[in-house]
Structures are given as structure tokens and as C-alpha cells.
Amino acid sequence: MISLRHIYKYYDSKFQRTFVLKDIDLEISEGEFVTIMGPSGAGKSTLLNIVGMLDEPSEGEYYFLDQPVHKINEKKKVEFHRNYVGFIFQAFHLIDELTVYENIETPLVYKGMKVSLRKSVVADMLDRFNMVAKKDLFPAQLSGGQQQLVAIARAIAGKPKLLLADEPTGNLHSDQGKQIMELLKNLNNEGITIIQVTHNEEFAKYGKRIIRLADGMTSSDKTT
């Protein structure tokens, strides 16, 4: 599903080139649950953003569902975002001006889904995450864990093949974190490919495969 070949990411300043990622080769197939770990500045988030097509590699080839991402245009990337990729962030990134219901609905709107279908999908999500009673609340009225639930609901509402989670538990206390991780595990069991970045050793173990990065390079790649 995902195939990274000789991926480099660097920034050029006047006298030197600073490498964030160096010669990353990575194959991820459908249904995997991958955890990326590593110290701060190892390039975890950059790697995730490249996979999520939010950032571009400086060098190298990237194939997503056998399509060369390094060659496709912005429009095509938007198509991929709409149909195949969902995101979860450490800071939740919900739209403050929209209610829980409307936040979950947003990606479906861009997907061009019909109103009636949208209603049933959002209702489904709310039901599944036990949030029916909170559908008219604004993000600021929810706890961190609840906000992240909404963010996950939003990310998977469009039935993506791939879910990218950038430290999804970073802003949560451990009980909430556990709950989120259990949820991700269930989603993975249902067939969604998940890549998460985390610092937390315990939560890392939810992944079936752990990749460790150090100084922009893969230092280990183990399947548990």
C-alpha cells in the first residue's frame, strides 16, 4: 500500500544541509498497525506528514496504492485526502466554530456526499462513539479525551484506508490515552491501516510493528 524508496528530507541553509530524513526505505501493506518511535527531532512527524502527503520529500520515490505520489499534482493529492487518508493530531485540531456533529460532517461535505447519506453516516459515528448527547456541543465544551474521540470519528467517517495518528495521546492522561488506543486497535481489526507516532512505550505496543528512528534513519524495524 505504501512504498517509500530512498526518501530524503533536508533543509538547506547558507553553509550546510540539515537532514531530517536520510535514505528511508519503507514498505507498509494494508491492514498493518505501525508505530513510529524515536527521540525528539528524529524525523517521526516529518515521515508521517510525507506519508500523509502533507509534506514532500526532498528526494526519493513514494508510491501510494501503486501511484507515484512524487509525481502527482495537488489536485490528485486532495483526492487522496478525501478518499483514502484520515488524520488524528496531538492537539485534536477540531474546528472551534463547528459543533461535534458539524466537525464530523466536514470531510463528508468535501467528499461531496449527499445530505441524507451524510446524516446517517454521522449518526452512525455518534452512536458508535457514544456521543449522541454531545452532538450539539462545541469543542471547547468537551474534555481532551472527548475531543480526541470526535477527531477520530471525523477521521474515519469518510471510511479511509489509512489512518495517520501524530501522538494521538500526547495531550491526554493515561486512562483516556488507553481508551483511545483500544479504539485504534479495534479500528485496525476492522481493516484500517494505521500509522501512529508516539513517545509512549506502553502505547507503542498497540502497534503490530514498531519502527524506531534516530537522526533521520531507521534504527530498527520489528514486528511484535
Binding site: N49, H81, H93, L94, D96, E102, Y110, R154
Partner: protein, 790 residues
């Protein structure tokens, strides 16, 4: 999708009340101001649109080759002759106002203003809707026909159908019986041709015959007192037709006619007749251009506000946009969202703007010196123009923010790594400078117009501009000499004399006089007719020769006085005693301003008259006006019991002549205030925003020992620089436009540097006041509070 946008924008505005409020306030004021201006402009441009065939309706004008001027007057026979000679001319009619026409209602004569004598063709040329049982054709063929407008018909025949009714009318003081043949719907006010009633054309012949002591006016080609209107066929070509007129003129006028017939389209008559004498009501294209430019500038200032504020708050919107993008929104979606937001904001402001406009309309009407009426025939135009303008301002102001924000990279937004760097700062500053340039230019222009106005009022005219008044005699006042002699007996009156028109004069009479040396070339000389003692009364001095005097009995018919310019331009040496046009030059008067200072002092030939004296100039002792007036009035009642007493002081005449300039000062001042107000709103919002985003910075600075004063100073300094740049840029801009405006005057005031200094100071104070409030508040931040939430 739109519902989703709408919710976001409404909630965003709710959370950013200051942003929304300032934008809405600035926009609604700007829209209201430009709506009022547009109302005026639309009304002016809509003139004569009510006449369906206006593309084919032409007025035949008389072009005088020698004088290079155009008169709208043509002979009576022209219309019928043109129609019979040219197949391209489908219809032709002559028109002339029938002055003093009145109708007898219940034994009392009611004067009918704007009564027009014409022929039946006139109803086929102009779009005049006949009502009820009106005859369908040949409405004016009968000499006794009378066609009334609806409002006149309702006044004269209340509650009944007047068609077929007989009524007594008064023409040239004689009674005649008229029969109503039709009634027409009132012609809209935005028509240059707006008679209140029509009668047969023959009724105007009598008075002309009488005045010229002839009886051939009906067939004469010499009496140019009628307007001639023609309706061309669809195939007719105007240049071809006009070329054919040369042969036509040879046939009917003379071998070498002094004037040519030319065609002027009906659509050009209201706004393009500045060179046509006696053209009837006219608009001022210059005024329309000026006001449109002002409307544009106000809208520009409001749009800039929106851009400045929306880019300022964009850092808050950025997060939402980043999220939307990760959720599958393309750049196009984001652009549409932001554009529809700004259009939405503009459209919700529309009703407020309409309300302000409606409230301000009566005041604006006085300011514009016109009646600002909402014409029902233009309502569709108003609505579409207003709506288009609103949507346009929405798009124009939203376009920058939408392109800027939609182009941001998601990764940068989510990393919080957007650089609100120099580029955006410079852009925003440039916009503020642009607003201030507009404002400063408005202020300086106001001062320049005002100083030109004062200059005009105080300029040495060459005659007294104080302690002189003009008593209005009216036409054919035979006993004026007796009246002048009786008022001269008052000890308050220094001197009094009759004259043709008030000074400075509005109208003019010109003639071509051959040069004294070079007989081939001709000089355009203006005439003026006076009574004995006028030079003395007005304080004009003679540089050579003598004044008109009763001692020489022949002065009335045989003498004339030239002004210095005439002597120079005609190349006369030793002028006194020389002959000119059958009269003898008896003196040379020092140049004085015949007209306003818009024009140079023309060469003038002044002679005496006892027929056209319509004013009496009275020079009185200073401060005696209040008890002189009752005396003048009493004497008037004795001399002319049947005429109303009327007078104007020379100050009134002069300020009337320059009332356009005075009004322009007021108008530009008001719009300058508007621009400043709108720009100040924007600046207020921006400073508030900057102060907020700098909270953390100010907190840190204070911890490291920065004083409150230096924080305020840092805010003020950056704005001072903006004002200084704007003020300097406004100097060439103002000079460019104002020298163009001043070029309409022959005598101009000097543009003083203080004008620009004052406009700089005004904008400086307003900007500082606006900025100071927030910068003071920002400087008072408690650093602990500022940094607590980091």
C-alpha cells in the same frame, strides 16, 4: 456545503465582534455614501431614456462658422422643409415655448408653465403616452387644439374627461377658444423635453412678427427662434445627411450661409450641450465624473479596511483552514468559502446601508444642489447597480485574503510555522498608506478649493464689490429714468444707474469685429449696454477720453466706450475719436471683470441703451442698507405698482456665481470626513489586533525592564512613519488633480505649502488618537498575566 460555510462564518463573526463590527460599520457607511452618489449618477445618466426612439431622435442645431458656437434656435419653416426634402427624415416638428399662455378656469386665468407650441408629429417623435379617449393622430393639426398633461388636466378639469371640452385660453393677451384633443401621461422628470401642454405651432408666430415688425415669420429663414426635432428612419446615416445639408443651406439660406445645420442626438442633449446656447436643462458631466470618482475612493477605503482586518485575523482562521485541508478540502474549496464569506458580510450590510442612505437622502440633496429623487423608472437599475456594487466590494475585498489563506501549506499551519514576516507587514502598511493618501488628498483638495473660492470672492474686480445693490426692473420697464431720479434724492444713495444685467454677468452677447490694422482677421468682442453714470456708480475708472454724458445728446446712439483689452486686441492706436461699427469711440475704461474669474477679461464694447435696461445699480453709503431698503421699496411702489420689488446685493450676486465652488468645498469636506472615519475604524481594529498578538512580547519586554512609555512610543512611531509617507505621497497626487481643476479658472490662487502641512497634522492627530488607546492598554499589561497561559 454552503450551510457549513455559513455556520462557520456566523460563529466566527460572533466570536470576533470587533472585527465584524468594524467591518460592518465601515462598509455600511461607505456603501450608503456611494449609493447616494450613484443615485445621483444613475438619475443624471437616465435622462431621455424614456423616449424609446432616442437613438433616432435628433435636434437640428445652428452652427455659426464665424463665432464657432452652436445655437439650438432654428427657423419655423425648417421642420416642414426638411421633412419634405429628405425621405430619411420620417417625422419633423418645431417647438417653442408659448410664454404667458393661460387658461380660463372659473373666470380666472391660470398660467400654464412649459406650454409648448408644436405640430402633430411631435407625438410620433417623443414617447408621449396618450390617455383615455385622446385622439390617436393629428392632435395638433387644428389651430384650436389643446393637448394637456395628466396633472394639468386634473387641475383644470377635475373629475371629468376633458377630451372634446372647450376652454378659453389667453395668447399674447388675446382670448381664443381651444378644444382639448388629448391628454397624456406626465412626462418623467428625467426627460429634457417636458411640456405641460401642447398647442398648435402657429400661436408662436404672432409675437415674433410683432417684435420684428414683419409678417413673414412663418416662411422666413432668418428668425431662429424654434427648436427643430426630427425622427430619422432606421436606415438613415447622420454624416451623409449632414453633408447633404450644405446644398440645402445654399438652396434656402444663401450662397455663403453664415451658419450650418447640424444634428445632435437626443441622448447627447442633457450631458453634451455645454457648447450649445439655449439648450434647455442640462447636466454636468464633470460633476458626474467627480462624484463617481469620490464614490470609488470611498469604496476603495472600505475594501482596504476589510483586506487589512481580514489578513490580520487570518492567523486565527489559518488553523481552521489547515484542518479543512486535511479533511479533504482543496484550495478551490477554501477560496470559495472565504470569498462567499466576504460577499456574505457585504450583503448582510446592504439593508443597513440602504437605511443610512434613506435617512441621509434629504440632506444629501441639499448638498448636491439637486433633488435626489428615487425615480420609479430607474428602480430596477438602482437595485441591480447596488447589488452588483455590494457583491463586487465583497469579492474585491475578499480576494486577497482568500488567495493568501488558501495558498498556505497545511504542514506550516499545523506546525504553527507560518511566518507573519515582513512581506505581509509591508503589504498591510502599504494599504494603510493608500487609505491615508486618499484622506490627505481629500483634505488638501478641500483647502485648495476653499482658498480658490475665497480668492474669487476677494479678487479686485475693477468695480465696487461692497455697498452696491441691484434692483431688478424686469423687461420693458419704461419708467426707469424716473425711478432712478427719485431714489437719487435719498442722502444714502451716492449714485444710481441703469444697466442691462447684474455684474458679474452670467450671460454674454458677442460680435465679430474686424482688426484695425489687419482687416482680414476678426476679433470676438463682448457687448454691454449701460445707462448714464454707470461707471461712476460701479466705481470703474476711465483711462482715456470721457464717460457717457447727457451733455452730449448724441451719446445714446452714436458713442461707445472700449475696455483696455479691446483696444489692445483690435490694434487701435489713439482710440478716442476713431469710429467703430458706425459709432465713435469716446473713451477707454480700465479693465474690469465682466464675468466670473473662470474666464479672462474679454475685449469689450460698451454702448448706451434705453430699451434693454433691466437692472438699476445703486451705490449707497456704507451701513445704510437697512433704512435704504424701505425707501427703495416705497419709491418702487410709486413707480411700478404692478411689479414686485426685487433686489440683490453685489455680495449675493458674487457668492451665487461661485456657489458651485462653495458647494464643492462642503461636499469634498464631508467625503474627507467619511474616508477618515472609515480608515480610522480599520486602524482601530488593526491596532487592537496587533496589541493582542503582541501581548506575549510586551510581557517579556516588561519583565526585562522595558518602560510603559517606550512601549507606547514603539506603537506610535511605526504609525507616525506611515502618516508621514502618506502625507508626502498625497502632495503630487493632490497637485496633479488640483492643477487640473484650477485650469478651469483664468485667475488662480497660489497653492500654499501650509495646506499639505495641515492635512498631515490632521491625519497625524486622528491616527495617533486611534492608536494611542490600544497601545496604552497594551503597555499596562501585567507581565504575569501575559505569560501565565503559555
Amino acid at each position: 456545503m454552503f450551510r457549513n460555510f455559513l455556520k462557520t462564518v456566523l460563529r466566527f463573526l460572533k466570536h470576533n465582534k470587533i472585527f465584524a463590527g468594524i467591518n460592518a460599520l465601515g462598509l455600511s457607511i461607505a456603501l450608503a455614501a456611494s449609493f447616494i452618489i450613484l443615485l445621483f449618477v444613475i438619475n443624471e445618466l437616465s435622462y431621455d431614456h424614456c423616449h424609446k426612439n432616442r437613438d433616432r431622435i435628433y435636434r437640428v442645431n445652428n452652427y455659426y462658422v464665424d463665432f464657432k458656437n452652436v445655437m439650438s434656435g432654428t427657423p419655423y419653416v425648417l421642420a416642414s422643409t426638411l421633412k419634405s426634402e429628405y425621405p430619411q427624415i420620417e417625422k419633423a416638428a418645431n417647438t417653442r415655448f408659448l410664454r404667458g399662455f393661460s387658461l380660463k378656469v372659473k373666470n380666472e386665468y391660470i398660467g400654464i408653465p412649459q406650454a409648448v407650441a408644436s405640430t402633430s408629429d411631435i407625438f410620433d417623435i417623443f414617447t408621449i403616452h396618450l390617455l383615455g379617449s385622446s385622439r390617436l393622430s393629428k392632435l395638433l393639426d387644428d389651430p384650436g387644439s389643446l393637448v394637456l398633461s395628466r396633472s394639468q388636466a386634473e387641475k383644470i378639469f377635475p373629475g371629468i374627461d376633458p377630451v372634446g371640452k372647450e376652454i378659453t385660453g389667453l395668447v399674447d393677451g388675446e382670448e381664443h377658444i381651444f378644444t382639448v384633443t388629448g391628454v397624456y401621461e406626465n412626462i418623467p422628470v428625467n426627460s429634457t423635453f417636458r411640456p405641460q401642454c401642447f398647442v398648435n405651432g402657429k400661436w408662436t408666430l404672432g409675437s415674433i412678427n410683432k417684435t420684428f415688425k414683419v409678417n413673414d415669420t412663418e416662411t422666413s429663414w432668418l428668425r431662429d427662434f424654434w427648436n427643430t426635432w426630427v425622427l430619422l428612419s432606421k436606415e438613415a446615416k447622420v454624416p451623409e445627411l449632414e453633408k447633404g445639408f450644405r446644398a440645402f443651406e445654399k438652396k434656402y439660406l444663401s450662397e455663403d450661409p453664415a451658419h450650418n445645420y447640424r444634428l445632435q442626438n437626443l441622448s447627447d442633449i442633457y450631458l453634451k450641450s455645454e457648447n450649445v446656447a439655449n439648450s434647455g436643462i442640462q447636466g454636468d458631466i464633470g460633476k458626474i465624473r467627480l462624484f463617481s470618482a469620490i464614490a470609488f475612493l470611498i469604496i476603495l477605503v472600505a475594501a482596504i479596511n476589510y483586506i487589512i482586518l481580514s489578513t490580520a485575523v487570518s492567523s486565527r482562521r489559518a488553523k481552521e483552514i489547515g484542518i479543512r485541508k486535511t479533511n479533504g478540502a482543496g484550495a478551490g474549496n477554501i477560496r470559495n468559502q472565504l470569498l462567499s464569506e466576504s460577499i456574505f458580510l457585504a450583503v448582510i450590510v446592504l439593508p443597513v446601508a440602504m437605511l443610512i442612505m434613506w435617512l441621509a437622502l434629504p440632506y444629501a440633496g441639499r448638498l448636491f444642489q439637486t433633488k435626489l429623487t428615487i425615480l420609479s423608472s430607474n428602480i430596477l437599475t438602482y437595485i441591480s447597480v447596488y447589488l452588483a456594487l455590494t457583491v463586487f466590494i465583497g469579492i474585491a475585498s475578499g480576494i486577497y485574503a482568500s488567495y493568501y489563506l488558501s495558498g498556505l501549506k497545511v504542514i506550516d499551519i499545523l506546525r504553527n510555522a507560518i511566518h507573519y514576516g515582513n512581506k505581509k507587514q509591508v503589504f498591510r502598511s502599504a494599504l494603510i498608506i493608500l487609505q491615508l493618501v486618499i484622506f490627505c488628498s481629500f483634505v488638501s483638495s478641500t483647502f485648495i478649493i476653499r482658498s480658490q473660492y475665497l480668492y474669487a470672492l476677494n479678487k479686485d474686480t475693477g468695480y465696487y464689490t461692497k455697498d452696491v445693490l441691484f434692483v431688478h426692473l424686469g423687461r420693458d420697464f419704461k419708467g426707469y429714468s424716473a425711478y432712478i431720479n427719485s431714489i437719487k434724492s435719498s442722502p444714502d444713495v451716492i449714485m444710481a444707474a441703469g444697466m442691462m444685467d447684474e455684474l458679474p454677468m452670467q450671460g454674454s452677447m458677442t460680435m465679430m469685429v474686424p482688426h484695425f490694422v489687419n482687416k482680414e482677421s476678426k476679433v470676438k468682442v463682448e457687448g454691454m449696454a449701460v445707462d448714464y453714470n454707470l461707471f461712476k456708480t460701479m466705481g470703474m475708472t476711465l483711462v482715456e477720453g470721457r464717460d457717457f454724458s447727457e451733455e452730449f445728446g448724441s451719446d445714446l446712439t452714436k458713442s461707445l466706450v472700449l475696455n483696455e483689452t479691446a483696444v489692445k486686441q483690435l490694434g487701435i492706436e489713439e482710440p478716442v475719436g476713431k469710429g467703430l461699427g458706425g459709432k465713435t469711440i469716446i473713451g477707454v475704461v480700465k479693465d474690469f471683470n465682466l464675468h466670473s474669474i473662470h474666464s479672462d477679461i474679454p475685449p469689450m464694447s460698451i454702448d448706451m441703451t434705453d430699451q434693454y435696461i433691466e437692472e438699476v445699480a445703486v451705490h449707497y453709503k456704507h451701513g445704510t442698507l437697512s433704512h435704504l431698503l424701505p425707501f427703495l421699496k416705497d419709491e418702487w411702489k410709486k413707480a411700478a405698482p404692478d411689479r414686485p420689488f426685487g433686489y440683490s446685493t453685489i455680495e449675493e450676486v458674487i457668492s451665487e456665481i461661485y456657489s458651485t465652488e462653495k458647494n464643492l468645498t462642503t461636499i469634498v469636506t464631508i467625503f474627507a470626513i467619511f474616508t477618515l472615519l472609515i480608515a480610522a475604524f480599520g486602524l482601530f481594529g488593526l491596532t487592537l489586533f496587533i496589541a493582542k498578538t503582541r501581548t506575549k512580547e510586551i510581557g517579556i519586554r516588561k519583565i526585562f525592564g522595558c518602560s510603559e512609555r517606550s512601549i507606547i512610543y514603539s506603537f506610535l512611531k511605526s504609525n507616525l512613519i506611515l502618516v508621514a509617507i502618506a502625507a508626502s505621497v498625497s502632495v503630487p497626487v493632490t497637485l496633479l488633480f488640483m492643477t487640473r481643476w484650477l485650469s478651469h479658472f483664468s485667475n488662480r490662487t497660489k497653492i500654499g505649502w501650509w495646506i499639505f502641512a495641515v492635512s498631515f497634522l490632521i491625519s497625524f492627530f486622528v491616527v495617533m488618537l486611534t492608536v494611542f488607546f490600544h497601545s496604552y492598554r497594551a503597555s499596562r499589561i501585567n507581565p504575569v498575566d501575559a505569560l501565565r497561559y503559555e
